[in-house]
Symmetry: C2
Subunit: 251 residues, 2 copies
């Protein structure tokens, strides 16, 4: 059956995360409900690059599904967006080889985390950025972020509930940019453990507040102990920004 790849953007505020859960409103549920509806009741499954937690947003989540329907790739966004709730938008779709897999073919991901640095919170951003009005040392945060770059065992920076055994990941970029009254943490790597971005951001904010020093990061990594790193930053500041697939793996 022909396989289609879609880039999907969603506002995570009203969802219990991406993945299907009984009696919960999730992004995957909505996508499968609409696709099944389009296929006249024939259950159509969707596979994503990975799940996102309740409240987490996506700008560039990637999914794939298989269909016999003779709809050209570029028409799928129109067909799907018509039936999807307006919190979910299919930005792009294209037919891909059947060897493409939204999860297994991933070669890298970029996440972004947004904090609102205004003296008072911006009401329009209350679901999209986390308010941090106090003094934060951006230079120290940047210095600490650089310590996370490279190949490390990220056990200290993943949820204690992580079931994956191999916790070695490579981070290739960790920048913090200022845009208006917001700071945007940009992190790119070959893979991320459960809660890893939120724990890294929580720890970097602790560095900014003076609770840790940039030089503590190395020791935190080496300790492989979740209890030593900072708190998990709230979900609503986090965005799955982009998912990368190498041409080699796509074939």
């Amino acid at each position: 059956m022909p396989r289609f790849k879609c880039i999907v953007s969603y506002d995570g505020s009203g969802f219990s995360g991406y993945q299907v859960q009984p009696n919960k409103r999730t992004v995957q549920c909505e996508l499968e409900r609409v696709l099944t509806d389009i296929h006249k009741g024939k259950k159509t499954r969707v596979t994503a690059s990975g799940r996102t937690d309740a409240g987490v947003h996506a700008v560039g989540q990637v999914i794939h599904f298989d269909t016999d329907y003779q709809i050209p790739g570029e028409k799928w966004p129109v067909v799907l967006n018509q039936k999807l709730p307006n919190e979910i938008v299919v930005r792009h779709a294209a037919q891909v080889p059947e060897t493409f897999h939204a999860r297994f073919s991933v070669t890298g991901k970029e996440y972004r985390y947004v904090i609102d640095r205004g003296e008072v919170p911006t009401p329009f951003r209350r679901h999209y950025a986390v308010h941090h009005p106090l003094t934060l040392d951006l230079d120290l945060i940047r210095e600490a972020a650089q310590q996370l770059i490279g190949e490390h065992d990220f056990t200290s920076f993943s949820s204690a509930r992580t079931e994956v055994l191999d916790r070695v990941r490579t981070i290739e970029r960790f920048d913090i940019i200022e845009r208006g009254s917001e700071w945007i943490f940009i992190v790119k790597g070959n893979g991320f453990l459960y809660n890893m971005v939120r724990i890294m951001v929580g720890t970097l904010l602790d560095v900014g507040y003076g609770k840790f020093k940039p030089s503590d990061i190395r020791a935190l990594l080496e300790a492989k102990d979740r209890t030593l790193a900072g708190k998990t930053a709230p979900a609503h500041g986090l965005y799955l920004w982009e998912v990368e697939y190498s041409d080699a793996r796509r074939k």
Copy 2:
């Protein structure tokens, strides 16, 4: 009694507008409920620069209230924001002379209207910008906007339900700026009639789509007939951005 002026920002999405209405959730209701609560049940009234409709946002709404409470101006935002829903944020407060009046002392207002020009709508902006993905001629829109500048009778650009008899207003600025994938209409004047900004924007969008020419604006103004101008643009793209008070009137 000492009078305090506050600059208030709010997300209009969840409110039936600014003004108190029986059995409706409004911004004024919330402000008065919180102030009355702070004053241990003594009903405390709030006066705003003007009302905003359901779904309309404010970045710089101005209100005043009178109180005997010995709280310095700069502490009021903290005290109020603690009790207000997070859709309403008091950005600034200061004591003002008792001759200051949030509505009668106004000398000018700035409104902004935001449209999302992305090919597909941005889900995070669905309550904050109106999606217009099709071709719009920005040069023609700008040319038409310039025709609205100056002193005119804006009857054609105000709701048929307008009860005010003097419909002459002066617009001093009407610019359209591009920011990322959004266009922001910026309009500043000495006063605005009911629905005036939304009807002007609706008409300018009609110019952009080719339904009107920039040179039609003058005839529309002269006709003094609401039925000839464009549709009232949706509420959720509109922001009361700033309210101006001259120093002379403030005293």
